[in-house]
């Protein structure tokens, strides 16, 4: 399986790369001048990135930022552009899981030289030598306040307490980040989650299975079921519950769970390394991160950004200090290693149990 998978990924990457170089020809003239290409996740996030980072950076430095959307899993493309030395990206938006895979056999990432940055003012784990986290999201719990008028659930233990908090429940149809919630409900301390006690997590899940009304599959569906009251109580990705809340639904978040980040990395060997570093450094500025957090409901990694965010907005963000207290950092390395195995086990548990 390994070989065929690799071959296929390689093929995928080479062709994606071949095609990605095509539009590049047309912008080569711009590239020769001061310009960098940033690959991001595209979609609804792209305008927020432009407003918070790309445009202000262009304005301040005169370096143009061309942004392209990459695949949801950009690791293959990333490796290929470094291996073939065709630097179609100078900066890329990646997760810690991607970083782990981009450094396991060979180092594909450039040093960011963030020496001047003091990690203590940041969310834990945000500042690495090869990666700068700038967008914090949480895996937490959300509930409909109209369904719990007599007292709201406050923790994962309450989620499991169907006597005290009756109501239809939603749960993510995947073990990722969800097994942690089961362990938190079972009383595992936040700092002792990893390595996961998988048997214990599944035993805990056995107890709630019959009360789950909806096993949701995508972030948009999570927003939907909270928004239209399909469930009273669910696990959520913070921005998803906030989207439901923004639309006027009586949805509240319980900041009990995990956090993780999206960040920037630079492909090793890019000829525009200095400009790329300059861009990444620019992105750690509290003012810029505050603009970003105003556009999308993800929190800034630089906690000083909260000086620039109005209090009522700040309270909704995962990295707001009071919210962050209830969140443990999701261990991307653990999941990178165990995702396949746990997914299969989860499928069997869900379908056969």
């Amino acid at each position: 399986m390994k070989v065929s998978r690799r071959t296929l990924l390689k093929l995928a990457g080479s062709s994606a790369l071949a095609s990605a170089t095509l539009p590049l020809w047309s912008m080569r003239s711009a590239q020769a001048a001061d310009s960098i290409t940033v690959s991001d996740v595209g979609g609804a996030i792209a305008p927020a990135l432009r407003k918070a980072f790309y445009d202000p950076f262009e304005k301040e430095t005169g370096i143009r930022v061309v942004n392209v959307a990459h695949d949801s899993d950009p690791v293959t493309q990333f490796k290929l552009l470094v291996d073939s030395e065709s630097y179609i990206w100078d900066v890329s938006m990646v997760t810690q899981d991607h970083v782990a895979r981009l450094t396991e056999d060979k180092n594909y990432l450039a040093d960011l030289q963030l020496d001047e940055v003091d990690p203590s003012g940041y969310v834990n784990g945000a500042v690495q030598s090869n990666w700068l986290g700038f967008s914090v999201f949480a895996i937490a719990m959300a509930y409909r306040s109209d369904a719990f008028t007599g007292g709201a659930p406050k923790s994962w233990a309450d989620y499991w307490d169907t006597q005290k908090f009756p109501g239809r429940r939603g749960l993510y149809n995947s073990p990722w980040g969800m097994l942690e919630c089961a362990l938190l409900a079972d009383g595992v301390p936040r700092d002792k989650l990893y390595p996961l006690d998988v048997d214990r997590a599944f035993a805990k899940l056995d107890k709630i299975r019959g009360d789950i009304g909806v096993w949701w599959n995508s972030g948009a569906q999570n927003t939907q079921i909270l928004q239209n009251g399909e469930v009273d109580l669910s696990d959520t990705w913070s921005a998803r519950a906030l989207a439901a809340k923004d639309s006027g639904a009586p949805v509240e978040l319980v900041w009990d769970g995990l956090y993780s980040m999206d960040g920037w990395s630079i492909p090793a060997g890019t000829p525009r390394l200095e400009q790329a570093r300059q861009f990444v450094r620019f992105c750690q500025r509290p003012e810029q991160q505050a603009i970003y957090a105003g556009e999308v409901a993800n929190g800034p990694s630089n906690l000083k950004a909260y000086d620039h965010i109005p209090e009522d907005r700040a309270k909704l963000l995962p990295s707001y200090p009071k919210n962050l207290e209830g969140l443990a950092e999701l261990d991307s390395a653990y999941w990178g290693e165990h995702y396949d195995e746990l997914s299969n086990r989860f499928q069997e548990w869900l379908l056969l149990g």
Binding site: K2, A12, A16, I225, D246, E348
Partner: protein, 591 residues
Amino acid sequence: MQSATAIPTSRGSSWMPRWNVFHLVLPGVIFLLLFLLLPTLQVLAMSVFKQGDFTAAAFAKMVSSPLYLRVFAKTFSIALQTTIYCLVLGYPLAYWVSTLNARKQRLAMFFILLPFWTSALIKNFSWLIILGRQGPVAELMAALGIPGGDRLLFNEVTVVFAMVHTMLPLAVVTMIPVLNQIDRRLLPAASTLGAGGGRRFWEVYFPLSMRGVAAAGLLTFVASLGFFITPELVGSPKETLVGQLIILQINKLQNWQLGCALAVVLLICALIVCFIYDRIFGISSMSGGGGRQRAHDSVLRRSGLSLLRGLGWVSERLALLGRGGRGRLWLSLYATLALFVLMLPIFGFVPMAFTGGTALTFPPQGFSLRWFEQFFASPLWTGAIVRSFVIGIVTAAITVVIGGLAALGMARGRSRFSGAVFLLLLMPLIVPPIVIAVSLFYQFAHLSLIATDLGIVIGHTVIALPIVFVILLSTFKGYQWQLDDVSRTLGAGRWQTLRHVMLPLVSGGLVAGFFTGFLQSFEELTVALFIGGGLKTTLQRQMWDSILLQATPTIAAASVIVLAIVLALFLLVELVQSRRSRARSQPVMAA
């Protein structure tokens, strides 16, 4: 493969000495061999090879865990239920359509097909809202005091309902041409011979329509096997189908071997169903007649006939199909209701596009055009719609040419390979789109066709070919070939006959085929997802991205725009057709 290489040898033994019309199937056959069979085989080989060595590990895993057996059993059960409901509910609808005049038929077909051309994503999102715990149906049920309104979603009944909703148009459209071909004079003839309304229907009309019913059943069943969006969105984990497992293994776990192995088993299941169909009805009965003799005196046939006799007797007693206008009234009533239910998701998302709020809710909050403004202000959306248009038109043109030639060859030609060729031409319906997309991705990587518009066009042609082929096949079968002889007797050459006699008469079918090919491409997601590579974004791909990232009413606005385009195209086709039929009828009247 075999059929392609073997066809030339059949030339010598053919009853037609000079030129076998059947050879017209070749472009379609070659196209599908190159872009369906070959890539599928390549990827399927991945299921049994690990680092170059043969291994059955993936299959062993499938057998060792009861998970896969259960999922396959559930897939079969749900596909079977879907098929039965589609036939039972679709038959009266098709019958009703076949009683209408040509113009009304096209109108009815339009309303039946409109939901079929609506993106599966949007339809399922509509169901989530319409059938939701606090949705309009639940509220209505609560107001009427009917319990259970808050539990409409996430169960097997809803999955089957949504799948029937998706497949019913295809079933109906497959049956209509066959019903249209039944000579209605047979019914009064049967009456003259003393048959009552019930017997007349069940013993004369119904057996003649069986060919269409069987074809519709086969298509529905086989297509239902590969469903994944519907069970994922409106089902619970208990309704997990094989298509979802394939996606999980390939997309999320990158376990190509197991994913491909699941696809192999699914494909084999589909082929077995086709084989059984062939034994009972004869695949060739769909393609060119001649298969009918086979079932002549079987036990099956005799028991079928006695069943029909029984049904005739019962319905006569019930006076359901009596001579009075009541049967007709009930039928129209039923058809109206069925059309209403088919259109329901459309009624759901159109108002949502005009919402003043930020969420997809029903009823929408306030009125605004902001989501349309967002659509047209965004280069992502406008670029995607232009690309979808261009790709759709090119796909339609290619599909009509090669599908039309194949249909002509199949309708007029004779070959012992017609069964195999027919199966090949329908194969894109049998192979789940996800498998087609993955195989093409693998193949196109070698050809540098990933993230090219041409790559998407080829993929869409594969997907669109079977339906366009079936439409054109029924067109050519409905064509009165004696006209060719008449024309030739009057001294016209083959080419002249084609241009002046045949093309004008089959142009309706060709236009319908083009329209269908365009829409198949315009609404296709899976291939666009894989082959587009994030750089060549079609409208569906853009909608998919936004649904995953953020389900704003822009998606509903985009769907309304698509709806408007489909509507405009339909009106255009209708205009062309009515002008043509007027132009045609005049000389006839003058004569």
